[in-house]
Subunit: 321 residues, 2 copies
């Protein structure tokens, strides 16, 4: 398999804010990294002295992230099956980051499957460290996916939602973070072409819909998403419904808690990324996630199926070319 | 043991914003909760229909939270030892929230030990659900602790830092979250008396210091804490050092990523809480967490020892009275 073939797609898209080197590598704008003798990726439990990143991760083409360690382990085994890969006799997958106790990371051929926890800060730390890992491993044109769960807005439970854009709870499409005491704003932009490529992978025989739209990235699950069932609530059901309908009218199709920083940091590095979630419920119909466990479990596989199908298609293209 | 005896301390402190009922129960200001037939605490894997909260959690007096599941399991077994509790023959502790795959929760006598993940949104979800759990279990006057890790500012690695106040990356001591499209601000206030009680539990024979001061609660580990070793960095080492020294002059002693929402939501409910962290390094001396694993592991036990000592003392008071 040609390790560089996936970059052909990449070259068709515009480069990130930092530009992109012509050889297909992405660029992390941090001059200090070049001067470090060692880099400890603390939350991944890896460091550049004791681990050979090129050897361990040089063949990576895709990084898939999701909230729980359990889901990402399941996805890793699912990928083994979909990609037709076999582990050597007497071996099994192992959590590469098990010593960090922060994230869980599995590697299946050219794919990393990693848990990111909940919320912008948690996935933010992972993005910093995984982008450095990819740089040190000399990976070219990686594609990043978030495989998540969300609350739909006018979108039925079980529907797949692909984020076209991400906004915060005030409607801004910038990821804003205080740096040295001043706010730094970075545009949260997803790769439009990648969204189209994903849509092309939708199986017409699916019993559920796949939709696209604006994602509201909240910093809270309860009040921050207009729920009535948190520890605190100072608004009425009517005010909540007015808010949700207003969002719907603005094109917002789902709530989740990571899209903004995921879009902003990948775009800043010139890395293609997409956020693919399944709706656990339609928030126009309620707040509580009380769908039976086995149904939720089946729903969670839907974004996995779509992303795995995309990955398989890309890898087959490489093999044919 | 008298289940209500710990409230004597509570009565000496002023009540939270929502006031406090005279019988010692705290108050969650959400009229909608009373009208719900069932409450699914989704991220804890518990619900009020299939679980008897009073029976399961009615004796809880203390809730201890920390970042990783591993640390909180270790703390649970440590507490068993410190409190001189014995599990029935043939039993072991089990993660009560194992089905949620989000947090890990252990119960040791009157103490819950729970992982909260990383960052404000992650601990925020847990706080909403744990405060509802305590309410449904009819727990009186619970005391909450965060047992964390942090980056010291002019504070040596291995030092315990108890947060007196919490500020965000712009210096505000309010937790701000968009609710229905508008910012809601809640003061982040820790219980001053609890801090003094903790200081009284410091073992003078300890080989390390225990200090108090202002905690900067960041939304990012890298740029948000002025590190030079993230995927991106647009400032110089001199600018970083100027920023860190400015923080030090303002009384900021450490960086972590949860204090603001932890202080704000507990204060809002009228629940006493303290944030006790160990410094993994002194940020005035560097950015990388490259202390050997076994040393870090020993350091992480220090806040556990202090909090366990406080809990033991309080429980002994109850037994004597």
């Amino acid at each position: 398999m040609d390790r560089t073939c996936v970059k052909n797609n990449r070259n068709k898209t515009k480069s990130g804010e930092n530009g992109e080197k012509r050889d297909g590598t992405f660029h992390l704008q941090n001059p200090h990294l070049e001067r470090m003798d060692e880099d400890v990726l603390y939350h991944l439990g890896l460091n550049t002295t004791s681990h050979n990143f090129v050897e361990m991760f040089g063949d990576v083409k895709f990084v898939c992230m999701g909230g729980t360690a359990n889901r990402m382990e399941t996805f890793a085994y699912y990928l083994l099956d979909v990609l037709g890969l076999k582990l050597p006799t007497g071996t099994t997958l192992i959590d590469i980051s098990r010593n960090s106790h922060r994230y869980s990371m599995y590697k299946v051929g050219p794919v990393l499957s990693i848990s990111h926890g909940m919320g912008v800060p948690s996935i933010g730390i992972l993005l910093h460290e995984i982008m450095k890992l990819l740089k040190y491993a000399k990976v070219k044109d990686p594609v990043l996916f978030r495989i998540g769960t969300c609350g739909g807005i006018g979108v039925e439970g079980g529907t797949i939602v692909i984020s076209e854009d991400a906004v915060d709870g005030l409607g801004s499409s910038y990821f804003q973070v205080p740096v040295l005491g001043k706010i730094v704003r970075r545009p949260a932009v997803f790769d439009k072409e990648l969204i189209e490529e994903l849509k092309d992978c939708v199986d017409p025989k699916d019993s559920y819909k796949t939709v696209t739209g604006i994602t509201l990235c909240a910093d809270d699950f309860y009040e921050g998403q207009g729920r009535l069932d948190g520890a605190f609530c100072d608004y009425t059901e009517a005010e909540k419904m007015e808010y949700l309908h207003k969002l719907k009218d603005q094109g917002v199709v789902n709530f989740e808690m990571e899209a903004l920083v995921f879009a902003a940091l990948t775009h800043h590095a010139g890395i293609r990324a997409a956020d693919v979630c399944v709706a656990c419920l339609d928030r126009l119909k309620g707040d509580q996630v009380n769908t039976p466990k086995d149904v939720l479990y089946e729903w969670q596989k839907r974004p996995q199926k779509l992303v795995a199908s995309y990955i398989k298609k890309q890898l087959e293209k490489c093999e044919c070319s």
